[in-house]
Amino acid sequence: MDVSAMIPELLSALPLTLAITFTALIAGFCLALIATTLRVRRVPVISHLVDLYVSYARSVPVVLQLFVAFYGLPLLVALFGSEDFFSPTIAAMVGLSFYHGGYLSEVMRPAYLAVDRGQHDAADSLGYTFRQKITRVVGPQAVHFALPGYGNSIIYLIHNVALVMYIGAADVMATAHLIMERDYNQYQFETYLVLAVIYSLMCLVAWLIVRFFELRSPMQAPEATTTTPIKNELIASV
């Protein structure tokens, strides 16, 4: 069959897939930042609740998290009175943001803790405020440690965006299913191959962007021999 015929149609759903991805990237990043701050500062009670959230995001299948968002959000929205703005796309964005935030927090926290205690001491003794210390010294170093793990987390987010069709969002996967049904399910294998290529390319682009920043990091100076003190999770997240 002529595979090229379906590609433009599939790509027409790409903006929605990308919109969900970017929303989850940004909202998840903010959530992760808040969660990590609360966890490393050991705020009593709250840090335990945050721990619970992180283990929810990491040990519950993403497809289930999406369903929880899909059925749970209307309940929450109803509490606040308005029921108009709810849609599968919103549920997908919210569900994936929470997933990504929890996952990313487990990238950020080890990276923060990997920064040598002495760097804190030096900044403190020179009279840096907490904010100055974080933005000028500890933060940049933690970013360096976190980048490889961050790259992974973006790739897994892209993988998991492929699941939003199950709660009814009209993304690339859902469009593919429509095409297959219209073609009387003749070319299913081929269609999934095309999907595999599309998702691989998205992951490749994400990986190249993160890699670019990794190579630009000043701590990665040519003669640096020290290995990254944190282990990156090697396995996918679903």
């Binding site: 283990s55 929810y56 990491r58 040990s59 519950v60 299948p61 993403v62 497809v63 289930l64 369903f67 929880v68 059925y71 749970g72 309940l75 109803a78 790739i155 892209i158 993988h159 998991n160 492929a162 699941l163 199950y166 996967m173 299913q188 294998f189 999934y192 191959l193 999907l195 595999a196 998702y199 691989s200 992951c203 490749l204 282990k231 999770e233 090697l234 396995i235 996918a236 997240s237 679903v238």
Partner: protein, 230 residues
């Protein structure tokens, strides 16, 4: 809105899917560890050609979402099996391959790529000074592997292998797309019968979190118990 009376019967129903889920998870874990170990050894020994093939395999499986791999297996495996069997001259209708077998093969394929990374990392963490020492004491290759290399590599890999186990558990949830019933699929079925969707999904969430907690606890204990001896 959230009915608490339904929780108990629903929980019983969903818990019924736990043994099957765990069974498939252990099967996948075992298979993927074996395949991953073979991959890791090939890379560790730097076998030409095979090594490049494995690298390509890993890149492919890193880029493709697992749900797509499962669908590709669903549509691609039966014809492939059929072809293989006909080559071997066996008369067998591979189009009747049960879906759970397809799911197990697909997830094994995905997870094996990661397992091999874990095992390779553990192999690389093993310092070669010890194998030098063993060789100088006259150990054979097999003795070196059984008595020195394996116990240490296994210990180093425990935390990551625990994560793999959890990922496999979660990956099985994608089986609902090809009608394999695990914990998640069961919660969906239960919900569809009585329309208490959120209740069923919350129960499934709790079950997953409890399993994750138990698995991590067991791994921690195991690691601590073994750590003393090294």
């Amino acid at each position: 809105m959230f009915d608490t009376d339904i929780l108990l019967p629903d929980t019983q129903e969903i818990l019924g899917a736990v043994p099957v889920t765990l069974g498939m998870a252990f099967l996948i874990f075992g298979l993927s560890t074996i395949v991953g170990s073979i991959f890791a050894l090939i890379e560790y020994r730097r076998v030409p050609v095979l090594r490049e093939l494995i690298m390509a395999y890993k890149i492919v499986f890193k880029g493709v979402p697992m749900v797509i791999v499962i669908f590709l297996a669903y549509f691609g495996l039966p014809p492939a099996f059929q072809f293989l069997f006909s080559l071997l001259g066996i008369n067998f209708n591979a189009h009747e391959t049960p879906n759970w077998v397809i799911l197990v093969v697909a997830i094994t394929g995905c997870v094996a790529a990661f397992q091999s990374e874990i095992i390779k990392g553990a192999l690389n963490a093993f310092d070669t000074g010890q194998s030098d020492a063993a060789h100088s004491l006259g150990y054979t290759g097999g003795q070196l592997f059984r008595r020195i290399l394996f116990p240490q590599v296994a210990l180093t890999a425990i935390p990551d292998l625990t994560t793999s186990m959890m990922v496999i558990m979660k990956a099985l949830s994608l089986g609902f797309a090809i009608e394999v019933v695990d914990i998640f699929a069961q919660s969906q079925l239960t919900a569809a019968l009585n329309y208490y969707y959120l209740e069923a999904f919350v129960i499934a969430v709790v079950i997953y979190m409890v399993i994750a907690y138990i698995v991590t606890q067991i791994a921690d204990r195991l690691e601590r118990a073994l750590r003393v001896r090294t």
